[in-house]
Amino acid sequence: MKILNSVQNQVQVVEVEGDLDFHSSPNLRQALNQLADKKAPKIIIQLKKVGYMDSSGIATFVEALQKTKKYQGKLVLAEMAPAVRSVFEIAKLDGIFVLSDSMSDALQKVGA
């Protein structure tokens, strides 16, 4: 799994590539923790290149959401493949996240 960090319109964009599973999730958690620790106000996680995600992936996003909410940060999950989105639906967590189908929409939702 690869994690690419960039800044677009003062938004932290975290692009994830590859499978998000029990072995790779801790790396993403570390990357997201670093952003939360410095209280990044706007974060978009781009998931276009994630083909598979298990329970550890969704738990990592829940933890990131908990942390960003504590300092009123905004977190948007963008461009999820249907298989990845269904994991959120099964866990009944699609309602608590801000989800977006495109980067332009994600930037708008995060308030860029």
């Binding site: 029990f22 801790p26 329970s55 550890s56 969704i58 738990a59 990592t60 099964i90 009944k92």
Partner: protein
């Protein structure tokens, strides 16, 4: 048919006595397969081979093309992460809370942080309808709830296939049917393959996409629940109808009795 497990010419002998005697069958991916048969027919031994707890005397067991019958311990450890198992008596640790029980495979087999594990435990408990029970101990919950905890633990690692050993054993008929419904729901929702060992006919026909009927260590019949219900095979009919007399003898033959006396 896309088989996640393919069993070929499986033979298992204990002290020269064949408990499995040439089993050939496939477990279809994403479906619920029920293994049925009377006591001593070899169904528990068959299940133990599927999960790699027994080495066959001969034959092959292919899981996604890999022969687990000839795999070493390291290889088997890797494969077992794709397997979830719900044991007959739930097999919960009584000294641990519900949440800690579900967390066991996550703590043992993943590098995940404790905070991630806690969230996964909550998600799994919600999937089996036990949100809010994570701090309870096994002695504080009912038998049906214990089975749900066992199921949450079985799916903790997002397995490709879940094995259930007599999931309704020791439960009243209503609770047993609730567990069946849960197996059905989770198998469909999570797109999992399920293998259920049971001798409870109602339960088998309620959940099975495929039924494998074992008798004397061989596959007697394989088919959909409806095909098995309409089977004309005399053994299958006697088993379904639960008659004491029929082609399956009520008593062992006197030769077997005499042989047993002379051999001892």
């Amino acid at each position: 048919m896309d088989s996640i497990i393919e069993v070929r010419d499986l033979v298992k002998k204990f002290d020269g006595r064949a408990v499995l005697n040439g089993v050939n069958v496939g477990i279809p991916r994403g479906k619920i397969t029920v293994i049925m048969g009377g006591s001593g027919c070899g169904k528990s031994t068959f299940l133990r081979h599927l999960i790699g707890l027994h080495q066959p005397t001969s034959g092959d067991i292919l899981f996604e093309g890999k022969n687990i019958a000839k795999m070493d311990r390291n290889g088997m450890d890797g494969v077992r992460r794709s397997f979830g198992m719900m044991f007959q008596g739930s097999a919960l640790f009584n000294s641990m809370t519900v949440g800690e029980n579900v967390a066991v495979p996550l703590r043992e087999h993943t590098p995940l942080d404790e905070s991630t594990i806690k969230i996964i435990v909550k998600i799994k408990l919600e999937l089996v309808g036990l949100t809010g029970f994570e701090h309870f101990y096994p002695h504080q919950i009912s038998g049906g709830m214990k089975k749900r905890v066992a199921l949450a633990r079985a799916i903790a690692l997002d397995p490709k296939i879940v094995f259930y050993d007599e999931p309704g054993a020791g439960l009243d008929p209503i609770t047993a049917s609730m567990i069946d419904q849960l197996i059905l729901d989770l198998s469909r929702k999570l797109n999992m393959t399920s293998v259920v060992v049971t001798h409870e006919m109602k339960s088998a026909f309620r959940i099975a996409d495929q039924v494998i009927m074992l008798h004397k260590g061989k596959v007697l019949e394989v088919g959909s629940a409806q095909q098995i219900q309409n089977s004309s095979n005399a053994y299958v009919r006697q088993f379904i109808e639960g008659e004491p007399e029929g082609v399956i003898p009520f008593k062992q033959t006197s030769e077997a009795y005499l042989q047993g006396l002379l051999d001892s």
